[in-house]
């Protein structure tokens, strides 16, 4: 029977290496382009900027990877971030008289952010799993709800963190450890944890199984609804965490905070190679996707391009090209 084994074509074994390298390749090309366009591109300052600002979408996109992998979708994350930021700031301002400016107040704000994120994720998750409504509709609805609520809380304007509190809180975005900014560190930790969760824990395995075929998962004693709910809750928590890093950066929230983050996060996930239909998730691909999106913006600022009106077009072309490259590599493999 040895001969039979030999007859199996090599291609029945997956070649993850090359197809996985696709987005990475696009990333490398972008970095090369940036370095070519501007000497300061590879400076510590610029790299820090690019990575730190990717952190918000990045953390959210890592959570989104789990939601999409298990066959879901969340359009509400951008508005959710705005809402969390609004509530968090209001809470800190409200607690200020009693708690005074200090680390406990900041910590209290963080707890509020995570709690609101958890509650928001839970709301999405319950509507999807218990009420059985399409994730698209649920999160389209909550997207409008969260955004409206923050506009209402802000009375149409902006909710601002007390100035003194803000001074204390700023370093959470602007400083770091060993020259690495905090948002970068937190994002890296989230990404690593996400990658491990996806590849090396039951949770990740179940997400893939559910996205691939939820009936099979159910037959295998996987708590399909529980895991689905957990992905939305996890995403809510990560939106909360992203907000914790975001608020010290801008110190305020308004109806336009986090606008279109959902689109960026989903795009990063898909560019990274996760299937929109679920069943296969790649956290580190998502990280690469986030970096690609963030680099495109950065590179557009490095050189004087034709017309600022055309930025969107160039961005669009690069996104499609990045993915062509990736798929091209895969099929030629």
């Amino acid at each position: 029977m040895v001969d039979q084994a030999a007859s199996r074509p090599a291609s029945s074994f997956r070649l993850p290496s090359l197809s996985a390298l696709g987005p990475l390749l696009a990333l490398i090309l972008l970095v090369a382009l940036g370095a070519f366009l501007n000497d300061n591109f590879l400076s510590h300052g610029n790299i820090t900027n690019v990575l730190a600002r990717s952190a918000f979408i990045g953390m959210i996109a890592v959570g989104m990877t789990f939601v999409i992998t298990s066959g879901g979708l969340d359009l509400s994350v951008g508005s959710m971030a705005a809402f969390i930021a609004g509530v968090m700031i209001l809470a800190m301002n409200a607690l200020l008289p009693s708690m005074g400016v200090g680390v406990p107040l900041i910590l209290a704000g963080m707890v509020v952010a995570l709690a609101v994120g958890l509650a928001a994720g839970l709301a999405n998750g319950l509507l999807v799993t218990r009420a059985g409504i399409e994730p698209f509709i649920v999160t389209l609805g909550t997207m409008g709800i969260f955004r409206s609520l923050v506009t209402w809380l802000a009375d149409g304007g902006t909710i601002s963190l007390d100035f003194a509190v803000r001074q204390l809180y700023r370093p959470v975005y602007y400083s770091g450890l060993f020259g690495i900014a905090w948002p970068i560190i937190v994002f890296a930790l989230v990404a690593i944890a996400g990658q491990i969760a996806m590849r090396h824990t039951r949770f990740g395995r179940y997400c893939e199984a559910i996205g691939s075929n939820d009936k099979v998962a159910r037959y295998s004693a996987v708590s399909v609804e529980g895991i689905r709910l957990a992905t939305y809750v996890l995403l809510g928590l990560l939106v909360g965490l992203a907000t914790i890093m975001y608020v010290p950066r801008l110190g305020s929230a308004s109806g336009s905070t986090g606008m279109l983050w959902e689109l960026e996060a989903i795009a990063a996930v898909i560019i990274g190679g996760t299937a929109l239909k679920g069943g296969y998730g790649r956290v580190w691909g998502t990280v690469v996707g986030v970096l690609i999106l963030s680099l495109i913006d950065n590179i557009l600022n490095l050189a004087d391009l034709v017309s600022p009106y055309l930025n969107g077009a160039i961005q669009g072309v690069i996104i499609v090209l990045a993915v062509v490259l990736q798929r091209g590599k895969k099929s030629s493999a």
Binding site: N40, T158, S160, G255, Y309
Partner: protein, 294 residues
Amino acid sequence: QGKKAVIGVSIPSATHGFMGGLNWHAQETIKRLKATYPNLDFVLATAGAVGKQVNDIEDMMATRNIDALVVLPFESEPLTSPVKAVKDAGKWVTVVDRGLSQAGIEDLYVAGDNTAFGRVAGEYFKANLKPGAKIVVLRGIPTTLDNERVDAFRKAIDGSGIEILDMQHGNWNRDKAFSVMQDYLSKHKKIDAVWAADDDMAIGVLEAISQAGRQKEMWIVGGAGMKEIIKRVMDKDPQIPVDVTYPPALISTALEITALRFVSDTPVYGRFIIGSTLVTPANAAQFYFPNSPF
């Protein structure tokens, strides 16, 4: 003279008429200033969202070696500390239109006057409507500046006996304003005047009114000074008796003054508030720029 001075310009992108005009003026002015002053260079970035604008400013600092920043904040609060960081790095800062939330950061402030914008309109309503008159209002995108305008408007008509029937957001957008006005017209049998608070919205409102055939019943006041609207004021259109200025060209003023700082010794610190004036058939010609896209 050796090294060129680099002026970074960060403005919101052309998402609606007024901003389109502002973008156009910015580019035209940059072109002109570059030609006039060979030792000046400009870096222009446009942003569709707050976060993107902060990124743009960071990028200018990190990679473009700017000497000055001209910024029209997408929103005041969140831009305050990023702009302050530029200032702290020893750069020149000019703030345009929407002020920062903390005083004393900028070297130069060039702005329209949102309070005047609302007040001037309100005063016109008060002067031209009888007590008991009914009006509807279309607001912009929910923002602080929209609030300032609406508050000033309300204050100005206070005590006039004018009744505001309805106030919805038209988002400074023609299509949205058109639907909102259509619905106002279905809902209210009698409307004496409309404050559309932006000329783009006024265009949508006019269409909805003419569709309903109620042109004779009410007049409209927009704002900002779009050329089509100014033209109608000039032509004594009874539907558009006046307009209130809020010129997108204020970005040109800001750029020009900032440029002066680098090419001459003129002291240019300070605040330049470009007041909102009432455009009437009498003075309309003065505000009419047929070549501007706005």
